[in-house]
Symmetry: C2
Subunit: 359 residues, 2 copies
Amino acid sequence: MMEKLLVDLGERSYPIFITQNILGNTEWVSPYVKGKQVAIVTNETIAPLYLETVQQAFMGFDCISIILPDGEQYKSLAGINPILDRLMQEQLDRKVTLVALGGGVIGDMTGFAAAIYRRGVNFIQIPTTLLAQVDSSVGGKTGVNHPLGKNMIGAFYQPQCVMIDTNVLSTLEDRQLYAGIAEVIKYGLINDSVFFNWLENNIEQLLQRDAQALAYAIKISCQDKANIVAADEKESGKRALLNLGHTFGHAIETAMGYDGKWLHGEAIAVGMLMAAELSLLHDWITEEEVQRIENILQKAHLPTVPPKITVKQFLSLMAGDKKVLDGQLHLVLLKRIGKAVVTKEFDPELLQQVLVKYA
Amino acid sequence: MMEKLLVDLGERSYPIFITQNILGNTEWVSPYVKGKQVAIVTNETIAPLYLETVQQAFMGFDCISIILPDGEQYKSLAGINPILDRLMQEQLDRKVTLVALGGGVIGDMTGFAAAIYRRGVNFIQIPTTLLAQVDSSVGGKTGVNHPLGKNMIGAFYQPQCVMIDTNVLSTLEDRQLYAGIAEVIKYGLINDSVFFNWLENNIEQLLQRDAQALAYAIKISCQDKANIVAADEKESGKRALLNLGHTFGHAIETAMGYDGKWLHGEAIAVGMLMAAELSLLHDWITEEEVQRIENILQKAHLPTVPPKITVKQFLSLMAGDKKVLDGQLHLVLLKRIGKAVVTKEFDPELLQQVLVKYA
């Protein structure tokens, strides 16, 4: 069975496929490769598992592979050089198609390399983590981290297609699975209380990697994200809702130094709970709702307490976040489970209280 | 007098102003700055001459200045870091406007920094060399060099406006003036034989920096470029005509190492003559036309012979050029003065002959 969703962006529209057992199949690729040249970008963890299979799919093309070290700490401007250097050495031209085979880091870096190599070449996303499948591979946000802030350098650049093969989740580490579930939970919290209820009832099946449950959760997540991205590609409004938990979470990630001690999904899990606590202090949501959020995060083996960061450091890192506009911090907070809002109308003293509680 | 031209690119359209004595004037800036924050990017040569004046124009905003070292050798991916680092340190947000105050290198680097900082912020071009005024500040090509090829890393990213104050040409070095005239001559060769005739008759006035002659040459050049860019923003066709002389010229620049021994306009001058010679060997243009091209380049004190580069090195560098598609080198050649074509239908042996002649 193959599900097909569309990210509707006019001439930049593209399909997301959700299916199984497709990675070595040559048939799906040709509509999405315009020239003769293909460069697969992956990392040392994924290459032994899936590179050979994916090379099969592209065997009708002049295909090279670029294998990067694995880890968020390589997601920097300088970390793009190994990709660009190799593309230049091989003299690959403007019709080359880059293929991102990996998790969020590989997708973000490959997409950004595609955006800036010869001022832009095509690329395809083959996400291999749950987090990348439900979030980072969809919507065209590409880029790298700056030492002073996560994802601060990048481009909005859409792929030709996203190919999600749920089989790859069988080799995913437990901790990576949990981190992906954090982003799935996020879609429920933002604008889909029915999906949040479904997640409460099906969290065990997801943790046990039940294929049907995973495929359903991925489909709903991608559909939710595709709708939001289609309405606001460059984040001038509604798309900022997708950052629920991210202002707190990015502060955690930046403070911890991108070296894998905290995965993105883990930081976002804590960030969503902190956003919920702040919403509670404004009387926008109930204690029971906060409890439901904490419960599902705990069931998914996700952290609910941040690492040791001082209030001052938290505030300073949050002030550097992308959601600051004209010097004013904007946060994504909850009006209820299933309804998030982007707002600068929060009480700074209550924010302080939340940070003190967790510091 | 203020001339206003429009680069017509739908929602990315923007004006080019050609005028005098405007740099310190506060009135022109406000329509093109959307937030409260402005960062002027310039270099050590331009800063003492014009930075204070331009700061006056932006005095209604929170304005910082970033002063880079001067030279094409800093136009690299790593060379962008001083801009990005400072923007991050100052926690400038997505509404910041970058102002490129300088020649082509500053414009290309600042535009690229604007394209990738927080996935894209606004920028304004204030070009201070003739070459930047007639070419690099118009059309949205931004980017940096790769050790293996010029302008290979970058983005198509349009400014909010281009402000050309011809007064700044009074402080331009002679050699930079000549290099700019090379690009002006290019527009005549590509598609404007009337303008080429005018240039033959007015080259002395341009060399003497006659204000009226310069303003006219800038206006015609910008208009020619704006028309071509409007027809083909991302260079899928006609825009490649603007690369007349560039495949040869970039090979010269890459071989010489971007350290200022050869200015871009100088390399392009030789490149145009080599393209003319190759066109002559195909019997597309006459010896008299080649002679006219050589004459005007010589009158403008531009080189007409490349530096010592072997045929092999030339071919290898040309093979890495952006104009290679699916392994096939495309060249911009002349059918007559005032009519250039992009073609892969040239005789490789005649190309070899031209390279041997100049090697």
